[in-house]
């Protein structure tokens, strides 16, 4: 077992983990945070996307020990004081989901994308989310939600 100290959704944690424990399993089973889903388990679908030091990563392909000393953000950590994060609000408003399984990953990938590129074109949104699959094929509204969230960004910063 290896002791890891890290920050998850703003909270400092210290846990004993097996080195082979994947970050997604650490978040779901040790921290009790079930937003990040295990979809394909092969770094393809993006359902397990979380932010690691502000950058989107697939937590099925990161060891929990690799996150030691770093800052992890999951969808549970987005909303503050009961208010939806602007990206979550945009996904709800634009109905950027069908079954919802890919949604936490889509939302986290979007938060990461907008941090790097606050005002993406539609083409940049589609390229920026190429690591996230929606098996309902609900991409149209997802892309609309991301563009709406970027628009909301503009209004806030204007």
């Amino acid at each position: 077992m290896t002791r890891i100290e890290l920050t998850v959704n703003g909270e400092k944690r210290s846990d004993e983990v097996e080195p082979r424990l994947l970050l997604v399993h650490y978040l779901r089973e040790v921290c009790g945070l079930r937003a990040a889903n295990v979809g394909c388990d092969t770094t393809s679908c993006g359902a397990c996307t979380v932010l690691l030091d502000g950058r989107s990563v697939k937590s099925c392909t990161v060891l929990a020990v690799q996150a030691a000393g770093h800052d992890v953000l999951t969808a549970e950590g987005l909303s503050a004081g009961g208010e939806l994060h602007p990206v979550q609000a945009a996904f709800r408003q634009s109905h950027g989901l069908q079954c919802g399984f890919c949604t936490p990953g889509m939302v986290m990938a979007t938060v990461g994308l907008l941090a790097e590129n606050p005002h993406p074109t539609e083409e940049e949104v589609r390229a920026g989310l190429e690591g996230n699959l929606c098996r309902c094929t609900g991409y149209h509204n997802i892309v609309q939600a991301v563009l709406a969230a970027a628009e909301a960004n503009t209004e806030v910063s204007a």
Partner: protein, 270 residues
Amino acid sequence: MIPAAFEYIPAESSAHALDLLAEHGDDAKLLAGGHSLLPMMKLRLAMPEVLIDIGSLEELAGVRADDTDLVIGATTRHADLAASELVRAEAPLLAYAAAQVGDPQIRHRGTIGGSLSHADPAADLPMALVALGGSVEIEGPGGSRLVAADDFFQGFFETALGPDELLTAVRVPRRPGVPWGYQKFVRRSNDWAIVGVAAVDGRIALANMGPTPLRAIAAEQALAQGASPAAAAEHAADGTSPGEDMHADREYRKHLARVLTRRALDHETG
């Protein structure tokens, strides 16, 4: 899927990593971004007993330039390589290639040293390094050595890197303003190339046309003798014997190599 159990040791420096490699030998694997190694470990295609984590070593990350070359630390992540102003100015083909790897999440984790050491013949960065005439710096118990890209890739997922050695940096000649082209033929957006071609300044490299990234020597020679890009590209598959899979048979891969080489020599990207 859960990897087999292993001992995890974070290296404190590259010298420490070398000591650990010397101690554990074949039982150990280096871990940086883990985006080639961890998927293999989850499938139990790799079952190292010891993982030596070099992913947090500052000394191995980052891009700098000397008089002739860009020097890129082994643990520089694809996203940082793609975004580096220095790389975009001095070796734009490499920045472009880094932006073609996988998807954004993968590029946030994967490292250039990891991708080159993994040596997937269908991957972007090995082909780019061969096209650019780059080299890798390797440190081992006997000191350091520099290995040219053409000599580094030795077989299917096989390199010149010894089990007790560490790839520390990648060197690429600085050539601002030199025209280049890059072609990657895929069926899905984040796949490996069915065939890839990178061309810069008379050098042409092919991905997935053999067990290693290959130089299209016959096409290069035709160019050097004054052939047009279109005529030279007809020789792109000469001497190759690419594998066959559900995506493409041998003849189709050869056809792709010729078409994509013509596009790359016309400085197209795609």
